[in-house]
Structure formats: C-alpha cells, structure tokens
Amino acid sequence: MKKLINDPRSVVDETVQGFGLAHAGLVSVSTDPLFISRQDVPVAGKVGLVSGGGSGHEPLHAGYVGLGMLDAAVPGAVFTSPTPDQILPATLAVDSGAGVVHIVKNYTGDVLNFETAAELAEAEGVSVRTVLVNDDVAVEDSLYTAGRRGVGGTVLVEKIAGAAAQRGDDLEAVAAIAERVNANVRTMGVALAACTVPHAGTPGFDLAEDEIEIGIGIHGEPGRHRIPMESADAITDRLLGPVLADLKVSSGDKVLLFVNGMGGTPLSELYIVYRRAAQIVADAGATVERSLVGNYITSLEMQGCSISVLRLDDELTALWDAPVHTAALRWGV
C-alpha cells in the first residue's frame, strides 16, 4: 500500500485539517467532535442541512458545505459512518430554529447512527427530518435486505435540497424536495480496480487483469457480478440499461445525466462514458437538460465510474441551477 498519508489512523483528521485550511473563508472545522460547517451557521431562518458518512468519498460530504448546499458535514472513519456524538453537535450547530434535515445514505451504520443523533436532537428541542438516499439499482431483492444503497444520487439530493433550503423552504418542504429527488434518481456503478482502505492495507477485492466488477457501491466492497473486461460503450450500456428501466425513463423526459468517477479513473475516460450515455438517453427519446461529469462521490482511488440519471421537472431544474458555493460545486456566485 502506497499512499500520501502519514499514519492510517490520522488520515481523516489530517484530511479535514487540510480541507479547513484550504477553504478557510468558506467553512469552519470542529475538531472534537469532528465536523465541518458553513462559516455562518446557524443561518437565520434557514432550515439546516446535515449529511455525513464514512470518509473516503471526497469531495462528499465536506466539499458540499456552503451556500446553497449543506450546512454541515460529519465525516466518520474511512468507510465507517460517523457516530451520534459527532452528528448531534453538528445538528445543534446548524439549527436556527427552523429545523434540520438529515440526508442519510441508506447503509445500516449510517441509518442507525443518524437515527440516534436525531432522537437526541429532538430531545434537545430541534426538529429533525431524515431523508434516506437509496438510488443504487445494482441492489436486487431490496425488499428482503438492507435495501438499496445511497450512491451517486446523494450529490444531487444535497445540491437540490440545499437550494430549496437556501430559498427559504420550510422543514417539511425541504425534506419533500429531497425525497422527490431521491424518488427520481437511479444509479449503477462499475469498478475496474479496487481501492485500499488505509487501515486495512490491502485492496477491498481482487480483480484479474481482464475482469471488472459490475454493481459496486462506494465502499470498496465487491459488486454484484464479475464479468470479463468490455469496451467503454458496452459497459455504459450495461450500467445505464437498468438505470433507465428502473426509473422508467420514457420519450419526452428531461433528465440530468451524471457520470461520476470513483477517484482513480482519468477524467477523459469519464467523458468517453458520458458520450455513449448521452447517445443512449437520446435514443430513449429523453433530453439531457443538465450534466455533471467528474469525481464527485468517490471510493478513494478506486478505478471505475457510476452513472446516475435524475428525472427533472421545472422546479428541480431551477433548484439545480440555483447559486451554490462550496469547495467542490460552485456556480452563480
């Protein structure tokens, strides 16, 4: 394992310290307990937005703290959800009295830890609504298991719900927008090479030179199927097919098309995937109204990508376009 780190156990602390230094005008860092918040929290009258989860998905979530998106991000250890004693103070710090929405990726650990924190926050008089993101169509039989995972769609939920909170929507309305985004987004991913969790020291799974993992999540875990290597176009078809089918995309739909890198794949390859994905969406009679291509929710240095499709309506498009100023997404300001 070769990494630009000092000690596997200080990776998260030092990452957050560096992040805080690099974006000093934008965010504040609380070191104990560890969380990142907007400089100006609580923002008077605004619903607070808190997300978090295991580290290793950078720029998620800290990179999305700022105007028009998250009020606070709570990083756990690498690929390990944060604990209630981090989530609770982050929640209290961002509450202006208008309540707080927790955006939680649907993993048992995240769900349980945010659940506890929400209970504790309610006990302290803060209204909390929790929105679970579960956009991963790779998870089958989800009714009988822990359900679908929250993956690429998380970024879109955070942006759009963040815009709703920023324009002054109340707690129920922000939660409803977040739910609407989640209901309209589907994602599927592929890995060409696994990542190595610093404390583990060996890759999360082993792939032969001619194999890829289809249906991976974002925690360096193995995927659903292992198949021989294929062309970018064939892989794109394989990922986008289930996404479009599950979302029931049909002629006339307007969509946001999001090709996300897992951290170790060149941007050029993401554009090759985007090219094919845009063709397929067009062939389905839908229109790509907005696009996003890059490393936005990663798994350390994993090689691969995920493709997300969000069905847009005029309000969601307007909220997507609304100004945002964070370390990793910025426009209109």
């Binding site: 295991g54 756990g76 250890a77 690498v78 690929f79 390990t80 959800s81 944060p82 604990t83 209630p84 004693d85 993993y107 048992t108 650990g109 349980l112 830890n113 659940e115 506890t116 790779a138 998870v139 089958e140 039989d141 009988y144 298991t145 822990a146 995972r149 969790v197 404390h199 583990a200 060996t202 999360g204 799974f205 999540g217 925690h219 360096g220 875990e221 193995p222 659903r224």
Partner: protein, 210 residues
C-alpha cells in the same frame, strides 16, 4: 467465582486485547463481504473503553457495562457501533445496580442485549449477522442458568461455545441484512465478521472468569 465489577473490568480488558489481536482477521472477514473496517472499528472502540477504565474505575458491573455502551456508541461508528452500544446498554439496564450478577440474571442480560440488537437492526436469525452468534448464545446460557444450582462459569462457557458455533454456522448463509446483503448469493461461503466479534467478546467473558 462471581460476576462482580472486577470480573467485568477484566472482561472488558480481555475484549480489548482480543480485538487488537484479531483486528486483521476481522478486517479480512469484512473485506470479503463488506468494507474492510470491522476489525478497525472494534479495535478503536475497545481501546477507547480501556482508556475510560484508566480514567475512572466503575463501581458496579452495570456501571461498567453502561460506560462501555456509551463509549462504543461514540467511537465505533458503522453498523457495529450502535448495535454493540445498544447491546451493552440493555445489558447494563438488565443487571441494574447489582454488586454481583447471578447466573440467571446474566442469562437475562445476554437476552436483553440480543433483543436490543434485533430491535435496532431488525435482523432475524439466519440473516447472516451478529444475531446468528447472539441467539444461540442466549439460548445456551439460559439452559445452563435454568438448570439446578448453576455455576456462572458454565453459563459463560455455554454462551461462548454457542456463539462460536453460531459464527461458524454463518458460513453458508446468504446475507439479508447489513452490507453483505448487497452481494446477494456471493455472500455465501464467508463468515460474518460481526458474528465472529460477538464470539470473541463472549469468549473473553470466560477468560475473565477463569
């Protein structure tokens, strides 16, 4: 032999030792069907418990269990943190402020712990989770505790052995809860890491009484 605060502290100390020793093994199990962190999480959590014991020695078994619950909850994260946190919290409540925990009460505490895990995690036996180690342990402990004039060491041994067997028995199962469930059929043929850490914890309880 009695289950007093000295036993409890020794138990927790042995748990910390076991997690440090088996850290890589638990990581490796979690690597196969999860995200490679269970050993790191449990080790971090129990090292924090040791640190707390250093700061402030608890006066009853219940106090020690409650401190452990709060520490695991705040240091472990992931699925295991809240689940073990709840388990120790329910066990603490079950033993109350007793100075010494009787065999039957201990069997009851184990059952309360298991029920807490199920309440939080909604897993059923056979879902390939730590519940598959806890449930046979609870049953075995109760059988011994309900027998004539039980020895508490026998209760601890029965629980540990059943948990170990339960962990082994997760090998062929297809996971339906937790991260391993995303793998579907591919989860079969691997042992559940949380079931193994449960067995380590219950085996440490025997060590502390020996």
């Amino acid at each position: 032999m009695v289950l007093d605060v000295n036993w409890t502290v020794k138990w927790l100390t042995l748990c910390a030792q076991a997690m440090a020793e088996h850290r890589l093994e638990l990581i490796e199990l979690d690597r196969a069907i999860g995200d490679s962190d269970h050993g790191e999480n449990m080790d971090r959590g129990f090292q924090a418990v040791l640190a707390k014991l250093d700061e402030d020695m608890p006066e009853t078994p219940g106090a020690a269990l409650k401190m452990t619950a709060m520490t695991l909850m705040s240091k472990v994260g992931g699925a295991a943190g809240p689940l073990y946190g709840t388990a120790f919290l329910r066990a603490a409540t079950a033993v109350g402020d007793a100075i010494e925990v009787e065999p039957a009460a201990w069997a009851g505490a184990l059952a309360a712990a298991r029920d807490g895990i199920v309440a939080r995690g909604k897993a059923e036996p056979g879902d390939k989770t730590m519940v598959d180690a806890w449930t046979p342990a609870v049953d075995a402990a109760r059988v011994v505790a309900d027998g004539g004039s039980p020895d508490v060491l026998d209760v601890l041994v029965a629980a540990a052995e059943a948990a170990e067997a339960g962990a082994v028995a997760t090998d062929p199962l297809v996971a339906r809860k937790g991260r391993a469930s995303y793998l579907g059929e591919r989860s079969a043929g691997h042992r559940d890491p949380g079931a193994v850490s449960t067995a380590l914890i219950l085996r440490a309880a025997v060590g502390a009484a020996a």
